[in-house]
């Protein structure tokens, strides 16, 4: 053990600089899911197949809400979306004082009365 200890002592510590420097996140990381509402057709498949019920698709108002602390970044929604409206970024979701809910609004064509 002594040799290891001495080696550690003279070499630079292994500690990352985070949060003072950017986090070292591998490119393959499944971080967070983002919706591209232009492509989305509000079919609701992502809501149906999400294993943790994190997604809500409101077909009426055209809004998709994701409860961030429910999403386990499994990527199932991406797989099932036929329109490729969902993307995954390596960047992870940030902590919050409350339970963060992200919502995406689709431009709805106004239905004339």
């Amino acid at each position: 053990m002594l040799s290891t200890v001495f080696r550690n002592l003279v070499s630079k510590p292994d500690t990352v600089k985070y949060p003072y420097a950017a986090a070292d996140i591998p490119s393959g990381n499944r971080g967070r899911v983002e919706w591209n509402m232009d492509a989305c057709i509000l079919c609701g498949l992502c809501e149906k197949r999400c294993p943790t019920l994190a997604v809500k698709v409101d077909k009426r108002s055209g809004e998709i809400t994701v409860q961030v602390p429910r999403c386990i970044a499994c990527g199932v929604c991406i797989d099932v979306c036929s329109k490729d409206a969902i993307t995954m970024t390596p960047e992870y979701s940030k902590p919050c004082y409350g339970k963060e809910v992200r919502s995406y609004q689709k431009e709805m064509k106004t239905v004339s009365e």
């Binding site: 053990m1 290891t4 393959g28 990381n29 970044a73």
Partner: protein
């Protein structure tokens, strides 16, 4: 008159990561009675898993964050046998590689945990430092540090491309050399030997009686390892020791880490080309029974499906379940300071025991 001390160890105790409660009866510092209480971690997963079979992949993965991949693999294998599909060879090898990676992270965790329980903080730190390199590697390959989530019924969802294979090999090389040093410490350090040799002995007979599995069984002289059949093409021999004490258990894990590194190397060189998954259609029906060698021993999945989206019943038999029970045979008569070491050397996991 000697009053005994009655002391709850857990559910929250610095040496346990998980909510396990051992109620100890001590005479001075000698254990005269131990009672293991379960149930803190019981979430009722088996019931919840008997639902949409596609969702269950993600749920069974979350039975446990240490050998999550084994759980999803075992589950997917059982579903594949229900669907009567054969996964592509490439997928089988990728699963194998990932499983061995997870065994590496799990064993380094277990060893580090043992070191921490003995108060050998710097060894713990070094082991976790090496583990961190592994974690980054699996993160890059699978997309998550803990729950790889790359299994799917019929194959895997992510490939290990050539450049990642290379990176993997180089990481493993570095790891092997550095880990060899730490392994030597574990083998030879006088204080470690003093704390582990002869402590918490589980004889071969007792081991058989308690049906222990995995490294605990192998450290007690039972050459039981399911990988002998699963890794058939990789020329695998289980590591066995006879002493049955905490030292032997740790040494089995130390040796198995090197073995896993070898297995990964071999698997990567043999990685066949081909598709990653075969499609499955429809709903499963019938029964399936699958065994897999997880880091702590064999995990058994029994799945019964009734032809609908929802499964009828899932039963998981996990290694820690039997190993933890054997603890009650190991601790009486030992000293309080040995309790954490012995407990951790068995590597108890409550989350899959209780699900």
């Amino acid at each position: 008159m000697t009053k005994t001390t009655l002391i709850p160890v857990g559910p929250q105790h610095p040496v346990f990561l998980e909510p396990l409660n051992i109620s100890l009866k001590l005479k001075e510092e000698t254990v005269v009675g131990a009672e293991i209480n379960y149930g803190f971690n019981h979430r009722g997963l088996e019931k919840a898993m008997a639902a949409d079979f596609r969702r269950t992949i993600y749920m069974c993965e979350r039975i446990c964050g240490i050998c999550s991949f084994y759980h999803s693999t075992a589950y997917c294998q059982s579903m594949e046998s229900l669907f009567k599909v054969e996964v592509p060879e490439r997928a089988r090898f990728i699963r194998l590689v990932m499983m061995e990676c997870q065994r590496l992270t799990s064993h380094t965790l277990a060893l580090g945990h043992t070191a921490e329980a003995m108060g050998y903080e710097s060894l713990f730190m070094q082991l976790f430092r090496e583990r961190e390199a592994l974690m980054r590697l699996v993160n890059d390959i699978s997309g998550n540090r803990v729950h790889y989530s790359i299994n799917t019924i019929g194959g895997v969802r992510r490939d290990i491309p050539m450049e990642k294979q290379k990176e993997m090999l180089s990481v493993l090389d570095g790891l092997e050399t550095r880990f060899a040093k730490l392994a030597k410490v574990f083998k030879d350090d006088r204080t470690i030997k003093e704390r582990t040799i002869g402590k918490g002995v589980l004889t071969k007979e007792m081991a058989k009686k308690y049906c222990v599995v995995g490294p605990v069984a192998r450290a007690s002289g039972i050459p039981e390892d399911i990988r002998t059949s699963y890794c058939r093409d990789l020329d695998f021999q289980p590591i066995v020791r006879d002493e049955g004490d905490s030292y032997a258990r740790s040494m089995v894990r130390v040796d198995e880490t090197f073995q896993s590194i070898q297995l990964i190397r071999k698997a990567l060189t043999m990685l066949p080309e081909g598709p990653l998954e075969v499609p499955v259609k429809g709903n499963p029906s019938g029964e399936a029974f699958i065994r897999l060698e997880a880091p702590r021993g064999e995990v058994i999945y029994y799945v019964k499906a009734k032809g609908t989206v929802d499964l009828e019943r899932i039963k998981v038999k996990t290694p820690a379940f039997v190993n933890v029970a054997a603890l009650s045979a190991m601790v009486p008569g030992c000293e309080m300071p040995d309790i954490p070491v012995i407990t951790v050397s068995v590597d108890p996991c409550i989350c899959c025991t209780e699900r």
